[in-house]
Amino acid sequence: MLNRLSVKQVKNGLKEKRFSSLEVTKACLDAIRKTDEKLHSFVTVSEEEALRDAKNADEKISKGEDAPLQGIPLAIKDNFLTKGIRTTASSKILDEFMPTYDATVVLKLKDAGMVILGKTNMDAWAHGSSTETSDYGATRNPWDISKLPGGSSGGSAAAVAAHQTIAAIGSETAGSIRQPASWCGVVGLKPTYGRVSRYGIVAMGSSLDSAGPITKTVEDSALILSVLAGKDPKDATTSPLKLKLKIESDIKGLRIGVSPQYFINGIDPEVESGVKNAVKTFKELGAEIKELELFDPNYAIDVYTIIQRSEVSSNLARYDGIRFGKDRSYFGEEAKRRIMLGTYALSSGYYDQYYNKAQKVRAIIIEDFRKAFEKVDVIIAPTSPSLPLPVGSTKDSSMFGELADVLVEPSSIAGLSGINIPVGFSSSGLPIGAQIIGPQFQENAILGFAKSFEENTQNAAWRKNEPSFTEVSKGKPNL
């Protein structure tokens, strides 16, 4: 049962010596052992390291040494380099890749006292929104294992939802934290571009990549962000701006923008009503709701596709099998498609037509959001236009990810902060998520709104829902 706790609950329990880090860690490892064969959230479980970390943490706690995440078991997406723990980015090219250094995020988490449970599954190279394109097999959605968990941080989101871990770290280029968090019914925070170091994360779209927490509660996200955030001398794109640590959950008089453009054609009606109900809750809590005209998110798909593919084509050039890893024949279909498209878009004669034009439209989208945030404090929208889709949906749909991520791509392109929060369930028992988008470096604002919602829906009936798959660990019938 200890694996079901939040970061804050574990912290309190450890502090009050009600249990040890080793006990929590063992509970998580036990849950992984019992459920991961079906769920497949993990590519690598680092049991040995986890037990060692937990024992160290317990020793430190007994000496009264405190650290923000002392003894908290976490799962890390497999595109973060972990010294001495295999890092594959879910691609067979890196099947035997043993990093010689830790990503800055991993170092910071280690310094904060985390216990590393293992590396979570993802779409290979983070290319996707399903975790179905992993070279190590798909991850399943804990709420219904015939469904996808979303992606690319699907392993991290599923692991948190299924209580295989206390919390997890994901990364997002456009939607890869928020969308799987939405589909798995957990909190997923995508910080502002430049808030968290990218050093040691297998690069995808370098002008977009952003690392953040996937957690059970909003407070946990805020806590982990405070560990991750900050200027990194090893990443020239990180910002020295300080993170405001105080989260104000009183939203009375604050303004929420709701854009009709984000309730796109074909949106699942239950998603639409779920998000609109959440907006209603915010209104009851005293927020002012403003209808907002935003740039059609569909334009963002084109811009995002060109920019991200171009950067990918260059970022994947080092994987030639000469110095490390396996040769290029191990690239999957999706990676090959992206390399080709990006290479084409950057070719002489096409650069102006594609990459340059995309950058110009990107500037327009940034400006559109800047103006919007003169009128409102945050924007609320559905995270995904659909409920979790069935396993196999990505087959024959090379633009699956872009369509699934249409509502998160504009804010990613603009480098904004955003958070997914669970707002309810469909009649079929699948999670519905809403995203709160804030200006750059205003994570405290979106966390405030998220916390306010969470506090005020704590007793709602849907909060009692349990992902069916975790019942295995409670001794109920296996699926």
Partner: protein
Amino acid sequence: MKYEAVIGLEVHVELKTKSKMFCSCTADYFGKEPNTHTCPVCLGLPGALPVPNRTAIEWCIMIGLALNCEIPLYSKFDRKNYFYPDLAKGYQISQYDEPFCKKGSIELSNGKKIGLTRVHMEEDTGKLLHETIGDEKVTLIDFNRSGVPLVEIVTEPHFKSSEDVVEYLKKLQQIVRYLGVSNADMERGDMRLEPNISLRPVGSSDLPKYKVEIKNINSFKFVSKAIEYELNRQEEILEKGETPAQETRGFVEASNSTVSQRTKEEASDYRYFPDPDIPPFRWTADYIEELKKQIPELPHVKVARFKKDYSLNDYDSEILTRDNALSSYFEKSVEIGSKKGILPKQIANALINKAVDPENVSPEELVEQITVSNQTTSLSDDDLNRIINNVLKQNKKAVEDYKKGKENAIMFLVGQVMRQFPEKIDADKVKASLLAKIK
């Protein structure tokens, strides 16, 4: 038909910064154990990110300023994408359309101005070593050089002769050495030259439809030979009514000729795009002014000053300003010498003709030597002979000792002679005279 040469130059200068361009590895790689000066960044490991070296960028801008370039207030790094095993990331971080420095010039001694297109910053690649291990032919990669800062200086096609090219290169080498930003040592590969050469009919002002780029040149002598060879080769082809191929050729030292390396069907497509890992640079005019102030007196200014202040001729001034160390040594000596009535010209002569080694002789010692030699020349041979005869008479034992093979005895005698003179005299001369008499 009469042809004239159209020659442009690309010169790469490796900076001698402490650390590499985008990581904190030491940049001093020459002669070091392979792959010992590396880290995730210069090895291009997954996840590693470049952080630009501020000193390297400032030095690049200072080179631009010294070459009369415009310094745009906006600049950025781009990725130049191509595959080669010595290129760890699959792209080189370089500058494409917004280099740090644009539109400069260097004036040659004949008054001709060579226009510079640009001066930009990039990173060096690793080094391939082709070896045989056992029976197997292998290629090894040494990444110690990977990521070392390189400045590329590109000229307009303004050269018409190999002499002009060599003079330009010497001036450029001198300038970067004056700035103290590179050793510009050709043999160590600190400075690499790539001329592109073509011919056009005399009187034409159009650029030729082809150009031939020459690689693998590691001395000023060879650049001259490569150009001469190439001009002859191309003229022969043009005389046949054909057009030389657009290609890259390599210089072959053994035969002083060039051979085709690769033919360019069209310009390579490097798929340049702004490096998303490095935010663009926005300088202020004040900042550029600050850098300007850090630029030391440049060679051509120093030559003019030497001529004026020290009344030296062109020849002396030019030689004394060839490198900063020598000119500083000269000026220090002049300062000391002025108190003892030694003229700058005497010091110049001492340095240029007598080839005093400034490494082993301090300016004070140099001035002392000149003072002594001034006096030595006033010492009459008669005086010397008289004193030597006296000394030999009074020190018969020492003379005997020397004849028995006691080498030290001669120095004792030299000392005795010198003691008879109120001022310092040339010991070598005394010794020679003594020996002549003893034998």
